[in-house]
């Protein structure tokens, strides 16, 4: 399963400046682990220490927020796009 992963500006230091990288895996978690093997440190910016998704990112498989698709267990299919975007909030 090969997917395109779109990387936001703030995380491109982990991908050598690349806006989009390829990764493989059958779930979001597997895709992130595959990314981590080539882009060390990236996974810790996506997954919080407790194991859930970080609140500072929104992650989508195609058009759907993965929080509605099972989070890290969200299935991904060949040819889909995983988009990572900054989740902005404030007080």
């Amino acid at each position: 399963m090969t997917v395109q992963v779109k990387i936001p500006t703030i995380l491109r230091s982990y991908t050598g400046g690349e806006k989009s990288v390829e990764a493989s895996g059958e779930t979001l978690d597997a895709v992130f682990s595959d990314l981590e093997s080539r882009h060390s440190g990236l996974k810790a910016r996506l997954v919080a220490e407790g194991g859930g998704l970080h609140k500072f990112v929104n992650i989508y498989v195609d058009d759907e927020d993965v929080r509605f698709l099972g989070g890290l267990e969200a299935p991904v299919k060949d040819g889909q796009t995983v988009t990572i975007l900054p989740a902005v909030a404030g007080g």
């Binding site: 500006t9 703030i10 500072f56 929104n58 900054p86 989740a87 909030a89 007080g91």
Partner: protein, 138 residues
């Protein structure tokens, strides 16, 4: 320094006044470091003390900016009871979500007659640096 077309500066203030006493929020996209337009966002919290964005609106915003070759240059929001300076939550999200290159423009609507508008850059270590806001014709 943040350079802002006067019309966009005025539109940010109008948005803040319209949503008062809740906080308003939005994005100023731009090209080559120049702000081109204002995108008001819904405050998903509808709160006088905080703001966040619906994920579907975030995806639509970024697709639209990609289509126009724009970047998210400025994140703006209002403080309705306090001064126009970054809160601890603002700093946390600046460090972890937007990064050191995005300007944080904050408007205070706590006074009825005057509106404070200030801009900040927030470093990766959380250091807050205020910058001048210069208005451009247009």
């Amino acid at each position: 320094m943040l350079e802002l077309p006067r019309s966009i500066h005025d539109a940010v203030i109008a948005h803040a006044r319209r949503d008062h006493p809740d906080e308003c929020c939005g994005v100023l996209p731009g090209v080559d470091g120049r702000v081109t337009r204002i995108v008001p966002m819904q405050n998903a919290e509808r709160s006088p003390t905080g703001f966040s964005w619906e994920s579907s609106e975030v995806l639509a915003l970024h697709r639209d900016m990609d289509d126009r070759d724009e970047e998210m240059l400025v994140v703006y929001h209002s403080h309705t009871m306090t001064e126009a300076a970054p809160s601890r939550t603002d700093v946390r999200f600046a460090v972890n979500a937007t990064g050191p290159d995005v300007h944080w423009l904050i408007v205070s609507t706590r006074e009825e007659d005057t509106t404070e508008v200030r801009s900040f850059l927030i470093g990766t270590d959380g250091e807050v640096t205020e910058e001048e806001v210069r208005l451009l014709d247009g």
